[in-house]
Amino acid sequence: MSCLSINNLSLKIADRTLCESLSFEIQTGQNWGILGKNGAGKTTLLHTLAGIPSSSTIINPQASIELNNVPIQQIKYRALAQQLGILLQDFQDVFPSSVLDTALIGRHPHLKAWQWPDADDFNLVRTLLAQMGLADYEQRNTASLSGGERRRLGLVTLLAQQTDILLLDEPVNHLDIAHQHQLLNYLTTSPFRQQHAIAMVMHDINLAKQYCDHILLIYDNGKTQAGKTEEVLTAKNLTEVYGYPITELIADKQSVFIAK
């Protein structure tokens, strides 16, 4: 059972307030969706929660971000990386690297300085690659992958890190509709669901509604709202968040949000 608790967090970049005294808790078994419009501060928040804020992020000194009741600043980098992982928006491959080598990098926090990945590491990574439909890509150069394949490889690398807490920045970006649902199903069904605490930045409101049990809305003026999906995710709130009229429809016995 892991728990990332955020207390009284305010974030600023230059003079712009991204969120004001935000408090919420991400626990094992929960799937949080983080929604807000472009530039609202979703990524900045996610990086801050992961303990890797950029140097331009200003965090209020009273804020606390605790992993299992220990402030993350007090946890050694490597120990933190064994418990908490983040999927960034993209990975860099300025220097050529194979798909397999890239995925194996996820094992970094678990290996000692002179340790090479062993058979177990390879098995784990190969299983994950197969689960994400990348089994035949092992020796491919990452530069030759499509956007969706890169996204799935990024996820394999994160999952190879085997952390209890997963923070994902737009995990379904670049994915086709089938892969979107496969991926989110994987993350939000048992046994994976019971073992992980997940927070993901999403742009698709309906995917968030379908797969996330908790939602954090980030409004324009630093206001935030966190709670259960059915309470927070309403057409009225979303209209305010995005500054664009959004309405709820019932189609095929499902409710969906559409832009007016």
Binding site: Q82, F91, F95, S97, D101, L104, A113, W116
Partner: protein
Amino acid sequence: MLKNFSTYWLIGFLIVAAIASLITALLVGSSNVSFNDVLHTIFSQQASTQQLIVQLRLERALAAFVTGGLLALAGALMQVLIRNPLADPYILGISGGASVAALLAIMVGLPLIVLTASAFAGALFAMLLVFLLSRGLKNTHWNPTRLLLTGIILAAGWGAIISFILTFSPSNRVHSMLFWLMGDLSYSHLPTLSFVILLSGLLLSLLLARSLNVLIRGEQFARSLGVATHQLQWKLLVLASLCTATAVTQAGSIGFIGLVVPHLIRLAGIQDHRILLPASVLCGGTLLTLADTLSRSLFSPIQIPVGIVTALIGIPLFLYLLHRSEAHR
């Protein structure tokens, strides 16, 4: 990443090649030396003319090897630090500072030892200048882009000063200045201190090597995997700069080794820096030893700057491997 059979083969091959290059350097040159003379020099104390020649060639070959190793190591580290395949040891203008100091020493006609010392001082000064200027006014941590731009613009500045010095130097000095600028090992003495710096530089960077595998894939990504990136970048900057300063002091600005060698090792399939760094040192040393042997024997008795030979070897070799690796993709 896999430490497999072919990795051992590559390292074995590089060690054999290194020894072969040193032996070649002893045997080849303007006067004939036999393999027997070489053995005699190593195993006996008598000093015949032949053995004196071997002695001189050995010092020069070792200097070439150490310089090549330093350049390749500095290049490999700099490429991770800047996260740019085009980075080489001179990209931050460290050799520019050394060159300006060295050329001034040549212009005034100072003895070799003073020239060497001032080149090293110039390199250290250029290094400090980059450190300070890239940190910015707010004393924030630098990022690679800022470091790169600061270094490139300072290098351009050094280049202008070099041209200025060349313009105003007496013509009888300009020849040796050009040699120094192209890289030249003919003044080299036994490289004891350089060797110590190379060895400790390699050992220290091997301690960082595994983190470099992650840093090369992005700073933020590396931090998310538990790498203390700011500290790591500082260590890299200091190590790479010191290696460069030492190499430039030893032999002037020899091009291509620092840029090409790490890529050669990568193209041979080595991505893990725990292997890549020592392999680069061996390969860089071997290449420069061979290049220097060629530079003093091709048009013997005339010696040409070794920088010309490294370019002549480095460019086609690199283009060939690049072509081959793309065909295999």
